[in-house]
Amino acid sequence: MQYSSLKVLENREVAKNIFKLKLEGKYNVKPGQFFMLRSWEDEPTLSRPFSIYDKGENYISFLYEVKGKGTEKLAKLKCQDTVKVLGPLGNGMDISRIKGKVALVGGGIGIAPLFYFAKKIEAHVDIYFGFRDEVYGIENLKCKNLYISTESGKVGYKGYITDIFNPFDYNLVITCGPLAMMKKVKDVCKKTATPLYLLMESKMACGIGACLVCTCKTKDGMKRVCKDGPVFKGEEVVFDA
């Protein structure tokens, strides 16, 4: 874990309100790990957590949706600007032993970390990505089969990605997206007894496990999304009804 100022190599709007931010830096990062980003001084108070979207020899990149004060500031970054970066953080996932067929199920901006999973997993990967309207983040996406859904019907299946996802064929499922979607994926994986990992999201303050504001409810009590997660086993996470 380092705290560094990194140079912006690219900050491009790839779809409406969706930006890809590429920063110069060499890191060892596991899929599912994240960084705390800050491109401002005092306001907003807290830094913002973003999962790793992609990584190269000399760069790390993030895919983010402009939603509030922090992402609005990030969206204004230009090449050569600097961003303060703390990370990599979180458990991430050891993917070296993954075998068989893997399904990555993502919804909306939750697809961001799954891009890097797809890149790093050696085994067979099928991807199920659901969007509201516009499709993004799939350029150079590595997989065997790509299934897309949009709620508007603009691209692919019209409806939710969970309508067309069946875990039966898979040895492992990894999912990230809105809670309602992940809950549904968990339910169907339970029926077929398919091993599942969930990537949880939370508002964070410290990002390193000290402040306990980002906890998620698990069957073993409240756990820290930033330190014990963000990758949790499917059966571990308790969704409130």
Partner: protein
């Protein structure tokens, strides 16, 4: 130059990491050597393990944040067995923050901590996020008096009482704690506050209220430290939105012997380190030989 001797202990500098923002120091120690700090206050501890509050626990506000963690902690026995040995390997003063829901719980917790290797006990009568039995010990001086009196009876170590800014009269509260034997006071804890989700038409937090911290509270916290320092003759730890060395020096000039840094650790993970260096540079540039010369000069 930065050394301060209080309660028979020597703090290498006046900068202390505040409770609840620094865990049990393992995480920040991965970023930098936290032995450089004057002291570290543990996450708030209770007699038994607590899971803390459900739902959203954090909400950002202008120049600050609200938290509703609700004293999630592994319990005092676990702390003494599994966290304290690590903290004692750090070359800094370890302050245990003690929370509770009843006088009995406070006293039993205090007995255990008093027998442990912690250097100082900070009695937390001011957490706004736990509402067991409907009593908040930090609002009325006569209720605080009972807790401090009973805890003092069983604590031989230095005992500092952490005050709530929501106290009816912060000066009277501090005086009462000192009358009951507190060796020092630390102030202020977070302010009881709230936020509303206007689209869902309901409070953001399940508990409705949450604690406000960060730069937003600094001027009020500073005023309270100043007022209390005029009324008591025990050392004060100043807390409240301190984010840089200038803020820290303001609190010291207002009467604090030590300062606690909390939310600033989230703004800048090196905040405590930067504040220590900043204070040292300030003293050099101003030709001041020792931090002790500026404590309470206002």
């Amino acid at each position: 130059m930065l050394n301060i001797s209080l309660w028979g202990k020597t703090f290498k500098n006046p900068v202390v990491a505040a409770s609840g923002t620094f865990g049990f120091s393992r995480e920040y120690n991965e970023i930098y050597d936290v032995s450089i700090l004057g002291g570290i206050v543990t996450k708030g501890l209770t007699l038994n393990k607590r899971e803390g509050n459900e739902g959203i626990r954090c909400f950002e506000t202008s120049s600050g944040m609200l938290n509703s963690v609700g004293l999630q902690n592994p319990g005092i026995d676990y702390f003494i067995e599994n966290e304290l040995p690590f903290m004692k390997t750090l070359n800094t003063i370890i302050i245990a923050n003690l929370g509770g829901g009843s006088i009995e719980e406070y006293v039993q917790g205090a007995e255990k901590l008093d027998k442990s290797d912690v250097d100082i006990i900070e009695l937390n009568i001011s957490c706004p996020n736990v509402k067991e039995g409907g009593v908040n010990f930090g609002i009325k001086s006569n209720i605080a008096r009972e807790v401090v009196k009973e805890v003092r009876r069983v604590v031989k170590k230095p005992l500092v009482v952490k005050l709530s800014p929501d106290a009816e009269d912060i000066v009277d509260m501090a005086v009462t704690c000192v009358e009951e034997g507190a060796d020092g006071v630390s102030l202020v804890n977070t302010f009881k506050a709230m936020a509303i989700d206007i689209y869902k038409k309901r409070p953001v937090f399940k508990n409705v209220f949450a604690g406000l911290s960060g730069p937003a509270i600094k001027p009020i916290a500073l005023r309270m430290v100043y007022e209390v320092s005029k009324a008591v003759n025990v050392p004060i730890m100043g807390i409240g939105g301190i984010k840089d060395y200038k803020d820290a020096i303001e609190f010291i000039m207002a009467g604090a012997s030590l300062v606690q840094v909390g939310t600033a650790n989230f703004i800048n993970p090196f905040a405590c380190r930067d504040i220590i260096n900043g204070i040292e540079n300030f003293l050099k540039e101003e030709g001041i030989n020792s931090i002790n010369e500026i404590i309470g000069v206002i």
